[in-house]
Amino acid sequence: MAAPMELSCWGGDWGLPSLHPESLTVMAYAKFSGAPLTVNTINNSWRAPKGDLPVLVSEDTVISQPAKILNFLRKQKYNADYDLSAKQGADTLAYIALLEEKLHPALLHTFWVEAENYCSVTKPWFASRIAFPLRLYLPGKMSREALNRILLTKGGPPLYSLTEVEAQIYRDAKECLNLLSKRLGTSQFFFGDTPTTLDAFVFGFLAPIYKVCFPRVQLQEHLKQLPNLCRFCDDILTCYFRLTVSGQSPAGQDTADANLQKLTQLVNKESNLIEKMDDNLRRSPQHPPRKLTTLKLAAGGEESSPLSRLSP
């Protein structure tokens, strides 16, 4: 058996095992191919900021990018693409390039550049998982890197302002989601019935958009209009990650939502009870004339029937 492999990556929330798209891709691939990975989520560890996450450590080798990690797993005979034809393998590469070019900038923007999202969700979440004093510096650095990347790759002329760049990247991302939805069609995974590398990558990119609750969610709303992609994410979460679709209860906003849910349930129960009582009250004035007739017809039932009527 291969030496034990340990994956260090960002932790998860909102029902996901990880919030970071690349970490999620690697974890999904490991589940699909049956590789025994011990997942070590970065919490209060100084190793977090060194280089990029996710990082796979096996014996003495340290590998850091998702493509390289997947290659390493394949060499260790954990191959999820075993049944694919050569053309399907080529298609995998092409679709991964499409995801990187069209969807990744919008994902980065939603998480790190959009001011409301960053300040209310991303920064507190990451800051709570990094040790002091690094938490004061690292989220800002990741945000600057994301903005830099977006501007350098997408921000040349004729797009001159950030709003134009944003409009363009969201348009590209929505087109990419439409293309993925058309490609998936009605099948369960992208290449038939077993999940492969492409499914891991698509899941890694889509699941954070789908699940994380942001204030500004135009991409999530677009994704929710493509039911086959939503079903794809939910299927993988329930089958491979053993989490319920509604997920565990995270801190912050969701407890408020849960409380609201409980309150609405109580109100519903009460209104149901009130309705039942209303029904009883409405029916009761009609009963006396019937009782008279039944009394006449059924001689022995006079005492029992009023008692049975009035008791709830």
């Binding site: 080529a90 298609d91 590469l93 679709y95 499409l98 350098l152």
Partner: protein, 275 residues
């Protein structure tokens, strides 16, 4: 561009038919143009040939600065200027010519994905080789890029461009790659293209599409350009169906044309194309 602006431009484009004096601008062929720009320009030329639209190729030293997006090639049609293959394809479609109409939705998605693969891997590898590999930069890129300008402008412009490209490479994570890793990526990309092409004449069987034009542009340029070493072209030559594909498109669309034909220029000055 906002949706309204795009719709407006499309409307303008659709109003007139393709004129006779359409022109494509690129940098100077013999002395100035670089590998990646030559590939992009050839791709656009191939696309227009496939659509049967006449185009003249005009070489100007300042083509990059004339272009609306800063990238070559760009076409000047009527009173509109459009640059880069993607927008040109849409522009030509607005005029009523399209190569990918016969494809169904899934095939169109595949075509777009493969075009992104070529842009993501092949084009980025070409840029890396030109601007981040020190030997190539010193011997080929710097002398060529600034050749129309006097000293010290030629050095300043090429350093400026190099700095820009290196920043972009760093942002997408390619700065840490070695040349071997980049060549391996090129190999992987060619392998994928070769698998997809198989034994068919074009990527989507009988008819060429913009994907064929793009792949032809890049592969042909890699095959016929002489750099410091032949490693890049060797990677492509490993796949016989890709070389046959390039030859087929060259024969069908570029032979027998007298205007600034890349093949004749490439063959006669094969040794001096990038020197």
């Amino acid at each position: 561009m906002s949706l309204v602006a795009e719709a407006f431009v499309t409307q303008l484009a659709a109003a007139e038919p393709w004129p006779e004096n359409a022109a494509l601008y690129q940098q100077l062929k013999e002395e100035q143009i670089l590998l990646s720009d030559n590939a992009s320009s050839l791709a656009v030329q191939a696309f227009l040939q496939m659509c049967n639209l006449p185009i003249r190729v005009i070489c100007r030293a300042n083509a990059e600065y004339m272009s609306p997006s800063g990238k070559v090639p760009f076409i000047h049609v009527g009173n509109q200027v459009v640059s880069e293959l993607g927008p040109i394809v849409q522009f030509v479609k607005a005029k009523g010519h399209s190569l990918s109409d016969g494809l169904d939705e899934v095939q169109k998605a595949e075509m777009k994905a493969y075009m992104e693969l070529v842009n993501n891997m092949l084009l980025t590898a070409e840029l890396y080789l030109q601007w981040c590999d020190d030997v190539t930069v010193e011997e080929i890129t710097h002398p060529r890029y600034g050749s129309p300008y006097p000293w010290p402008l030629n050095r300043i412009l090429s350093y400026q461009k190099q700095w820009e490209v290196r920043r972009k490479m760093k942002a997408i994570g390619w700065a840490g790659k070695t040349l071997e890793q980049v060549l391996e990526d090129v190999d992987q990309c060619c392998h994928a293209l070769s698998q997809r092409l198989g034994t068919q004449p074009y990527f989507f069987n009988k008819q060429p599409t913009e994907l064929d034009a793009l792949v032809f542009g890049h592969l042909f340029t890699i095959l016929t350009t002489q750099l410091i070493t032949d490693e890049l072209s060797e990677k492509v030559k490993n796949y016989s169906n890709l070389t046959a594909f390039c030859r087929r498109i060259e024969q069908q669309y570029f032979e027998g044309h007298d205007k600034d034909c890349s093949t004749i220029a490439a063959r006669s000055s094969k040794k001096s194309l990038l020197r």
